[in-house]
């Protein structure tokens, strides 16, 4: 009796506590959602504003900053495209495509050696590779500038592609290697007994089994090259060869007062990578979980 009385007491206490908790948690939940939505607006509104204002004329942006465009000026996009964005865009596509191709190919080969062979300097090379992760491009800027000039690459696409590839290799090698290590050895041994060469094994077994990770590597490399700014403003001087991030600076100076056109240019520049992200979110996040987007 005594025991059950105590149990009842506890039960009542729990009920009271639960009810109190429920009231409190409703207030808490409302507050939490208010915070999340406010923060959502802080992030989304500037981007929304960019797109809306890209359809306005300068007067509309100045005097009616917060309202929707009264007249949708699609020609802002045409003007932006013809004032240089088209050539920056094309340059970015070329540089991004070649950088991705070379980075992923070179890294996959390296990762293959580092995951499937035993050799003398393996650990040293692995450390050498990881060390590359710690070095930031700023530090080698001046020697790189000299190197690129002495190789006759200054003002060519290669002035960007080669350093981009080099700085993406450490991360990409490690990412692909960690996946290669998970591929069972038996597959490889069977192929080997069938007389497959090491390259055959790489091409027919490792590459097909690693498509998702290769895609992730490509996307992260594309993200990096599409947005890279510092090398892009220093290693290319010729406006005809500039990629989007560097070209936009030129574009801004050329369009002092045409704000709508400038914003249309910004929107065009951001669109491809946003679309890529929205379509390939899963692969982005996979690479991201490995810490590979920045640095």
């Amino acid at each position: 009796m005594k025991v059950s009385g105590q149990a009842l007491n506890v039960q009542v206490n729990v009920n009271v506590r639960k009810r109190k908790k429920r009231v409190k948690s409703y207030a808490g939940l409302t507050g939490t959602y208010a915070f999340l939505i406010l923060y959502l607006l802080v992030i989304a509104y500037p981007l929304f504003w960019m797109v809306m204002s890209s359809f306005k004329d300068t007067d509309g942006i100045f005097n009616h900053s917060w309202s929707l465009p009264t007249k949708w000026l699609v020609e802002n996009y045409v003007t932006a495209w013809n004032t240089g964005i088209s050539s920056y865009f094309l340059n970015s596509v070329i540089v991004t495509f070649l950088s991705c191709l070379i980075t992923v190919a070179v890294s996959a080969f390296g990762a293959y050696a580092l995951s499937r062979f035993e050799f003398k300097f393996k650990t040293i090379i692995l450390v050498f590779c990881m060390g590359g992760l710690m070095l930031s491009p700023q530090v080698s800027l001046i020697p790189l500038y000299k190197l690129i000039q002495s190789m006759g690459l200054f003002n060519t696409y290669w002035a960007l592609i080669l350093p981009y590839v080099a700085y993406r290799i450490p991360f990409t090698v490690l990412l692909i290697r960690s996946h290669f290590l998970s591929i069972p050895k038996e597959l490889e041994e069977a192929a080997y007994l069938d007389g497959c060469s090491t390259f055959g094994i790489f091409w027919r077994i490792f590459v097909p089994l690693s498509k998702p990770i290769l895609l992730t590597s490509t996307i992260l490399t594309a993200y990096y090259t599409w947005n890279e700014f510092m090398f892009a403003i220093i290693f290319i001087d010729d406006d005809k060869l500039r990629t989007i991030p560097a070209g936009l600076m030129q574009f801004r100076d050329a369009l002092q007062t045409e704000w709508g056109v400038l914003l249309a240019g910004l929107t065009i520049s951001a669109a491809p990578i946003i679309l890529l992200f929205l379509c390939m979110q899963k692969y982005f996040i996979r690479g991201l979980a490995n810490g590979g987007l920045k640095g």
Binding site: L36, A44, S65
Partner: protein, 293 residues
Amino acid sequence: MSKNRKLLPYLYLFPAILFLILFVYIPIIQNIGFSFYDWNAFSPEKIFVGLENYLQLFRDPIFYEALKNNIWYAVISIIFQVFGALVIAAILEDKLVRRFSPVFRTVYFLPVIISMTVIALLFTFFYNPDVGLLNQLLRAIGLDHLAMAWLGDSKTAMFAVIAVSQWQSIGYIAMLYIVSIQKIPNELYEAAEIDGANKIKMFFHVTVPQTKEMSFVAVIITLTGAFTVFNEPYILTGGGPGNASEVLSTYLYKTAFSKDMMGYASTIATVILAITLVVSLIQMKLFKTGKEG
């Protein structure tokens, strides 16, 4: 055959190693060498000056101004990007919110995807003293006295620049934390709930300790980012007004490509190298396996 197989891995590794040596390692070492000389891009002559560049740098008030700004960057970024992002991630992974969290998560992450050039040029519109949205907003809610030339005033320029970085990057670290929180066993939260812990207690007693490793990675990413930042100050203020928002990288850039003092610029680069190496070595020391980094 066996001899072949010994050489094969080197063949596969050759292109990667060549890239790393030529474009990453040799330049780093060369840069240290360059810092002992006085030279510029157009004359082939280099004059050996020993440690003179370093002595000059350590007496250079702009260097200290830049370093101070980098430290501000680091402190503010750790507060917002590490702690702030952890709070946001914890909220988004809470079971009461989880239903809508994919929407929030995706939107919060969007700025990370967009290039800093686009973001910085966009924010010059918001910071515009006369017609910028920020001042309009302040005037609308009666805080006229707070409206100012955010990027043009030496008191606010650096913080206005730092704010843009926070705006862009919180979503990135939050996403890292989300991945890490998803790995926490649910039983830990259930046990805490039975013990009568509220959400805040659960956050500090379960989430924070369980995501310790990720916090560590986040701190390193943020610190390295803060000491190498270039794009935001370069585009938003160019380091100005005066040197009010100068950071080490913009000072390096100006010294090299506007003043053409290549030796002195290499010295600044070496200091940046030293700072980032110290941060990385601390990481390796405290986090030996490096499995999450």
